[in-house]
Amino acid sequence: MSAVKRDRTVQIYGLLLRAYPRSYRERFGGDMRETFLREHRNASGAGVLTRIAFWSVTIAQALWFGALQRWPASGRRRSHALLRAADLRHAWRLLVRSPVFTLTAVLSLALGIGAATTIFALADGLFLQASPGVREPHRIVDLERTTNGRGHGTLAYPAFEHLRDHTTTLDALAAVTTEPAALSLAAGDTSERVYGSGVSATYFDVLGVGVSAGRLFEAGEDDPRDARAVVVLSHRLWQARFGAAPGTVGREIRLNDVPFVIIGVAAPGFEGHSIAGADLWLPITALPSHRGEGGRARLTDPRYTWHKAIGRVKSGATREAAHHELSALFDRFKSATPAVPEAHGLRLTPGGRLPAAARVPFAAFIGLLFVLTAGLLVVACSNVAGVLLARATDRRREMATRLAVGASRGQLIAQMLVEVLLLFALGGLAAIPVMLWMAAAMQAMLPALPIPLSFELTVGARAGVFAAAVALGAALLFGLAPARHALRADVTSLLQGHTLTAGREPRRVRQVLVVTQVALSLATVISAGLFVRSLQAASDLDVGFETRHVLVVSLDTTLAGATGQRAVALTGDLVEGVRRIPGIEAVGHGRMLPLHGGGFHVGGIRVPGLADPQALRDDVNWDVVSPGYFRAISLPLVAGRPFEDRDRDGAPLVAIVNETFARIAWSGGSAVGQHVFQTSGDDAAGRPLEVVGVARDARNRTVAEAPRPFIYVPFAQQPQTRVEMFVRHEAGRDVSAAVREAIRMVQPALPVVTMQKFEEAAAVGLLPQRLAAWIGGAVGAIGILLAGLGVYGLAAFTVAQRTREIAIRMALGATRREISAMVLGEVWRVGLFALPAGGLLAWGIGRAIQGLNLLVDVSATDVLAYVAPAVVMLVVLAAATALPARRAAAGDPAGALRAQ
């Protein structure tokens, strides 16, 4: 612990100690501080939740015991019971006696706590928790390659071998494919699609995963010269596919038509180290894809980067030491192997379920959702605090009476504290269904993904602890002020009935609370509005191609054992077969699914004579497409020709670029007929590609992006194995069954990985906006409702507090209209102050959203997104003040004065 941090901890604890009476503090304070510091040091090594729990208990104990020490209950007490049953019963009776208040408070607290906890569960599952089955996850590290210190790149296998064999700071280092690949599993006479990761033999050692049957990989089983065709199943696959039969181990199965022997089953629950779930694991050196031409090169070529690595830091070693050592090892490898680019480096990050590259954007987005839901929680708490304050004012006479007849202040505080805690505990309990519902709704929003997720948004014990801590913290923060107010009673004057003129202070507090509510809920609704406007803009946006009436069929030709020119022949047959279906207008295929968030490269780009040679180096995106591709997705060419059948293997290499590429490379001149060079690690000069056409700019990765330089090359000349087939059909015609049948007729062994509407597939890119609009909208709408209740409460409170004054004014001749204006004016001043505050807050959030690239063709100061919520807010304010104002004006002055 750093000295600064220690000082801050001491300061905070010093503040907490002030809860105790001075005499107690002087006697025990120093000792308590020392003891606390040691405890804190022990707790600070633990997880976030343990620390939250530690601080919650510390704060609660200091406040509670401090209060008990200050105001010991008079008379004989039963030792020092924390919670007296009588207080609880009394509190319960009070809550039941005002059901409307209780219901509103519990419901709004439930929504606030539930929403915040659901987002916490999301963050917890993605960031704080390790994948199930992993032992001591804090010691796992992810290894990535950097280029000039940046990026999240993959490693080359020879580099990995060097690191694995020489590291002394890691217990084990394992290579693993970037994501599980779809494999066709045949055992007996049935086949089905499963997902498998290629891993080195050390994989299970790194993760500390146990075995439930047979054995896991042995050292040397992944030797590239003698890779054994063995496979480890997940427990789930073992149960689902093999009925957990004991005879499974030793059986032979076929993966993509290559025989493998099952050697074991991993421990239950383990489905891989990341959120991309795997059904089985095979030696990374024995992957079926390594059997094709060029496959061996993957294992021996130090320039071929293609896999990731994870390691387990030795107990006693630090991550920094491991980073230092591995970087040095990598540098040594680099200097001994001239083929490795000088710019390459190594980075170690803490292991996690999300790929390191995805962590920052995910964290930022979840943080945004968290801010929105925390805002709702504050609004809900302010509301409850407001009502508690009003009740406290009402009860001052009761408190004064009880003080006068001999109750101690400690007893009264304890009792009020119990009331507040009970209310918030009920809110926390009622939050459970809210959380379950929100979790289910969020999961239902997830679209079909190409890889099964090993992640379930569960509301478990950790979320429960979080919710409890939030409820307790909120209760102490928002519930204690009213209690204090109720007890700051001057017994004599209160008993004489001076309540109703006393105290501007509670009104001031309520005004602040209402301003907070109005401003926060307005800001939330405006932020949600920005997302709604983005979704609107996105649906009107011309992305450059047509997603309607197009079916996307994802295929993997290796599942039928076809790579290289055999894959070209296979896809050619598939396109022919599908085109013959009645109602099909065009068929083509590419490697990328546009608007799906990712990018793809098959090499670097060199354009001779380019003024700025860096301009086209980093962000050029590639796609490998068939001749029919441009017609199938209606992407027009602005110059030249599309690919044709003559652009085959052996013919001159050709390419099509987009407008942005052409503008950067030839700044307005004609692109058709020019040459660009496709470079690779082996070949820095590159091979020439003749540009035969220019395609219109389109949004490729996401709808929110600016156009990027893009280059298309023909599938026949640079074959791939993953294929996205686009099938354009007549509007309103369901051709999916016919397409499936046509594929089966051409190649029965080729499973369809996924089949979906292009429109729906493209919508994945808008998932963050959809989620934020939905959560923000719901949270904001509830927030406005609660703010309305808060304003109503304030207005009613103002009227009640000023009854006497109003009566006197009316007796002196004020008209009902003037009285209404007086009451309305005060509340409206509060509301009108809150509107600009909310707008300003929203502007800040809007700028942050814009910074995250989440706004689509919408400005962060979109007028409609600001004005519409403000108008709604004004209407709510008007409605909330109308009734109390009328009641004030309709009052009976004589009666009011008599009642005093």
């Binding site: 000792d31 020392e34 003891t35 405890e39 015991f65």
Partner: protein, 113 residues
């Protein structure tokens, strides 16, 4: 305090720890935690609450002398008073009676089955 009202588990464990030797706050807490197998969840606040009560009851007192070798920062040392030992002995007798009831229960069960 009399024989009929048993000590709170935390108070009992603190007394037990002090009966062994005079000690300072943090060490007592650690001993209690270990002895109870973590079943007595003491934190700083609750520990001092129990300690204060024991001092008020005259069962524990501040130790007058501290051993010179000890780290001064560890603060005040506490020791058990003669009255504390009496209460502890009463507690022992009470618990022994509880234990013998258990044993009797087991014996009867064994006989009937």
């Amino acid at each position: 305090m009399n024989d009929t009202e048993p000590l709170k588990p935390a108070a009992l464990h603190i007394l037990l720890a002090l009966a062994e030797h005079t000690s300072h706050g943090y060490a007592i807490m650690q001993t209690v935690r270990e002895r109870s197998g973590g079943r007595i969840p003491l934190q700083t606040g609750s520990f001092y609450r129990h300690l204060t009560w024991l001092i008020e009851q005259g069962l524990v007192a501040e130790a007058a002398v501290r051993r010179p070798a000890e780290d001064a920062r560890r603060g005040t040392h506490y020791c058990i008073t003669p009255r504390g030992r009496e209460v502890l002995e009463a507690e022992r007798r009470y618990l022994a009676r509880v234990l013998s009831s258990f044993d009797g229960l087991r014996a009867r069960k064994g006989a009937s089955s």
